[in-house]
């Protein structure tokens, strides 16, 4: 079976001759959590944002396999790009909720790729979407918060809404860009646990950028270590030795 996401030779240069991503090759499928670890500036966020084209790659191909159809995301534009973006859900480091809208409206934002502007303005979403939204809110533990404004929520609660919003798209792949960096340790564990559980429940792969190696080891089925814009480790938690970590992050003091 083809993998849900296949990245081939991905290169990204923000400035000529200074590539941030130097040829990434990855195949991601199944329904587990893949954690991408590495120091800041090594291109983890760039990699994720190239997948859903929030950033445009300079070179390379990103294949998305949906229902037997294979599309190269890097070449899409306009309506086709938006149609493919619907298949990819994203969770952000700073939650990126629309603060002045309610929780329910934020969830329904996930369905904006499917409704017309006229319906969106009048907030006329298909009733099944609304029911799914309520069900998802219950799943993430925020059943009573549907009509609260998003800026009234705590960090952990906002991230749950962010995850629910991404899941509302019924995506084939779930991306998470440092979802726990703005959260306290206990909430971080809850969020990672939620991501893993929902990935398994929906049967989709979850790709998480994370800089907390312990969290990555605990929750990820597969670890991808990046350094200097390239993949230097691709395997499970057991194989991630201290030597490998030193190669990825450099320096020793933080390891003890």
């Amino acid at each position: 079976m083809a993998h849900a996401l296949e990245i081939e030779g991905l290169v990204k240069e923000y400035r000529r001759g200074q590539p941030v991503l130097k040829g990434i090759n990855l195949r991601i499928g199944g329904s587990g959590v893949t954690a991408i670890i590495g120091p800041s500036g090594t291109g983890k966020s760039t990699l994720l944002r190239c997948i859903n084209r929030l950033i445009d790659p300079t070179q390379g191909a990103i294949w998305l396999n949906v229902e037997g159809r294979r599309t190269d995301l890097s070449t899409l534009r306009g309506r086709a790009l938006r149609a493919s973006r619907r298949q990819i859900g994203m969770v952000f480091q700073e939650y990126n909720l629309v603060e002045r809208l309610t929780v329910m409206e934020n969830l329904l934002t996930g369905r904006l790729g499917y409704v017309s502007a006229w319906d969106a303005w009048r907030r006329k979403f298909p009733p099944q979407d609304v029911q799914n939204a309520f069900a998802l809110l219950d799943t993430v533990g925020l059943g009573d918060f549907a009509n609260q404004r998003a800026d009234a929520l705590s960090g952990g609660q906002r991230q749950r809404v962010g995850i629910a919003r991404a899941l509302m798209q019924r995506p084939q792949v779930l991306l998470a860009d440092e979802p726990t960096s703005s959260l306290d340790p206990k909430t971080s564990v809850e969020i990672m646990s939620l991501l893993r559980e929902q990935g398994r429940a929906q049967g989709i792969p979850v790709i998480v950028n994370i800089h907390d190696v312990e969290l990555a080891r605990r929750f990820a089925d597969r670890l991808v270590g990046m350094s200097g814009g390239q993949v230097v480790y691709d395997g499970d938690a057991a194989g991630l030795s201290d030597a490998k970590l030193k190669q990825i992050y450099g320096g020793e003091d933080w390891l003890s």
Partner: protein, 266 residues
């Protein structure tokens, strides 16, 4: 014990105005004197003016209540002009402001939109009214068009600036769901700027109400015409009535728009 012994004999005050502040104050003072001389200010003239002013106030009271119908038609026309000018201005400023937002639109488009808005702002409504009177004749139509141009200049500029100040992260998240451009605007941009937009729109409505009295002086409709002719006839009793009515209507207008803002949740 005093501060003097602590700091080797010199006492400094912590709140001494900086050299810049003192320089500016001095410059302003000098300027005032200079400008007064340029304008041929003469004290005797001022004093005799005060005397005439007292007479004027005496003639304004009691206010003339007899010309109710002129007052009524004039005020109603002013209010209608303000409403139509504001509505037209808002309707045009919405897309124009959107086009002028540099974080949403490409450069040539924003440059053009901003140029149009700047042109609308640059001329005073009275001058614009004079031109419209020449173009479409005396009456409310000229006034409405003139006030509409002024509204576009105000709302369009502030609206574009408000859009440029929004958080790009919220917009990014909405784009990531595959939403169309219109939906991104509706769910990503609009919630962030709506309250400020309503604020600008209501302010402009009040402002147009005030300015509608002014364009009447050059013949563009509204109570301004009656006011100007009252001045020319030295009918100060009626002037007082008109002014009092204007102030009253504007205060009511402000109260009304405050309630409007509350209903729209801003």
């Amino acid at each position: 014990m005093s501060g003097a012994t602590l700091s080797s004999g010199r006492i400094s005050t912590p709140f001494r105005a900086s050299a810049l502040a003192r320089g500016v104050s001095g410059a302003l003072l000098v300027y005032t004197v200079y400008a007064l001389s340029q304008l041929n200010f003469s004290w005797p003239r001022f004093v005799s003016g005060l005397d005439r002013g007292a007479h004027l106030l005496a003639r304004m009271f009691p206010p003339d209540m007899t010309k109710g119908d002129i007052l009524w038609t004039g005020m109603v026309e002013s209010m209608q002009m303000a409403v139509l000018a504001s509505v037209l201005g808002i309707v045009i400023s919405l897309p124009l402001g959107l086009l002028g937002a540099r974080n949403l639109m490409p450069q040539p488009v924003t440059w053009l939109a901003r140029a149009v808005v700047a042109a609308c702002r640059s001329l005073h409504p009275v001058i614009v009214a004079i031109f419209f009177v020449k173009a479409v004749g005396f009456g409310a139509m000229a006034g409405i068009l003139a006030l509409m141009v002024g509204s576009i200049g105000f709302i369009g500029k502030l609206f574009a600036e408000a859009i440029e100040e929004i958080s790009p992260k919220q917009v990014e998240a909405v784009r990531a769901t595959g939403a169309s451009f219109a939906n991104v605007i509706l769910f990503g941009v609009a919630p962030q700027v709506l309250s400020r937009f309503v604020g600008f729109a209501t302010y402009q409505l009040d402002s147009n109400l005030r300015n509608s009295t002014m364009v009447g002086i050059v013949g563009a409709g509204g109570i301004g015409g009656a006011l100007f002719s009252a001045f020319q006839r030295f009918d100060y009793g009626f002037v007082c009535t008109i002014l009092a009515t204007i102030v009253l209507i504007i205060v009511l207008g402000e109260l009304l728009t405050n309630q409007l803002k509350k209903v729209f949740h801003v």
